[in-house]
Amino acid sequence: MTPHPTLGDLLTQRGISRRAFLKFCAAVTSLMALPPDMAPAIAQALAKATRPSVIWLSFQECTGCTESLTRSVSPTLEALILDMISLDYHHTLQAASGTAAEEAREHAMKEASGKYLLLVDGSIPTKDGGVYGTWAGESFHDILSDAVKGAAAVVAIGTCAAFGGIPKANPNPTGAVAVSDLVKGKPVINVPGCPPIAVVMTGVLAHYLAFGTIPELDPLGRPKAFYGETIHDRCYRRPFYDQGKFAKTFDDEGARNGWCLYELGCKGPTTYNSCATIKWNAGTSFPIQSGHGCLGCSEPDFWDKGSFYQALPTGDWGSAKTIGIAAAAGAAIGAAAAYSARKRQERSMKGG
């Protein structure tokens, strides 16, 4: 075995057939909306790629992103591809702990300096000098800054890392911020979702491995291939929206008939993600298919955008008190204007 085996070598060793590998490449090509003739090129590039070093830092997070990744249907080819990367540091998955773990991270950063991929899940607390998140007495902020220096690119996994997520939600007691708020001068790919779909994470990695570049991103730094369309646009319940057929409660006839969940607060129209197409658990289902509206978890500040069960058209229009004050002020000025006009009229009549 060569000291730097390629993915192709490793997949062969793991008993992955050429057919299965090409199938995965075709799926990735399709998912990333690349032309079909790119599949062989991706297969060729992936087969020749060497294992890149990956350092995964977990900050203010719930481990849901890692759960999503590891609990995708097992074993999947995507999971094996992930095996094929050199995952040099990951709190949840690594065997080492304590000082040994931190030494492993520092070693990996030194060995692969300038080449490793830095994956981050969780937001970073910045309030009070970042004391709300530390490892071995070092703040998350400092650890991130240190790790970013030698990274080739940074991937913010999950909504907390991409946009601040739940830790950043009002009142944001720890001053949590997104990775992109702190990382400057390095490419940052946002892969939001609470959690993100497993194949989206592996798809982004596959793209990087195949092309050595980051995929095309939308204005929020998300790969367009996976976040290019709203859930609403690709939802199988969309025809019901267009026909005006809506479930009014979660157990009415409309709900049983699978009608649109718009009135029940579904955020699909304003949420960009692939849930409706890729789905979860090996394409089994996604929240809307399971009868619940989309929460909009791959969008910034989704936690602070009102109730999950409040229909999208509702807004913060004020209150009865505000409207009452506005009406009273209007009435007062209107009355004053009319009084003034009457006075002018009287003066004019007297004068005439």
Binding site: T230, D301, G334
Partner: protein, 228 residues
Amino acid sequence: MDLLAFAKGPALAWSIAVFVFGVVWRLVGIFLLRGKKDLSEPRNNASWKGLRLIVLRSWPRREFFGETAFTEVAGYVFHIGFLVALFFYLPHLLFFADISRGLIGVDFKTIFGVGWPYLPGGVIFFLSAISVAALLAVLVHRLINPVKRLISNFDDYFSWFVTITPIVTGMLAYAHLGAPYQTLLAIHILSVELLLIWFPFGKLMHAFTIFAVRGATGMAFERKGATL
């Protein structure tokens, strides 16, 4: 705060407050004015019969039909399309229901005791397109007709602009054309807010005064013995 959050948050609250403030100001200001005293002998004491004018003025008089038909037809087409899109499109109804619950504690739809119908989005889109076409037609007519052009001022053109913009942006949002949906939705809501802010201070205020003015005019005519 992103653009959509701004549009659905502070911009919405302020524009509604300005709208209510302005409309009440104008209505109170107008209704508390003292009418000019008519010193002439009334030719008809039952001046209330002049209220017929509210209905009579809703269609053209036969002798003027040739000249006013275009404006009347285009006006009706626009108004019907606009009002149907406003009051029979589900997202709009949900918005009104939310305000209704906040102001009077119940969903306004329940007041009528029957369901408030809504139309499929495609139908609303079609009616909106017809409304836009009618608005464009009346603008062209205003520009090429020398008399109308002469009597038109900024208020006319700006009122036209703030009226057509929400319809066009609403159609773009529905069709997801030109920008991400959130951006289009935010622009649509902001355009409605511009309409709300301008509404009380321009000619759009006719929506609140038109029938009262017709009634007052009709009663004055009736008193003078004019043929309605």
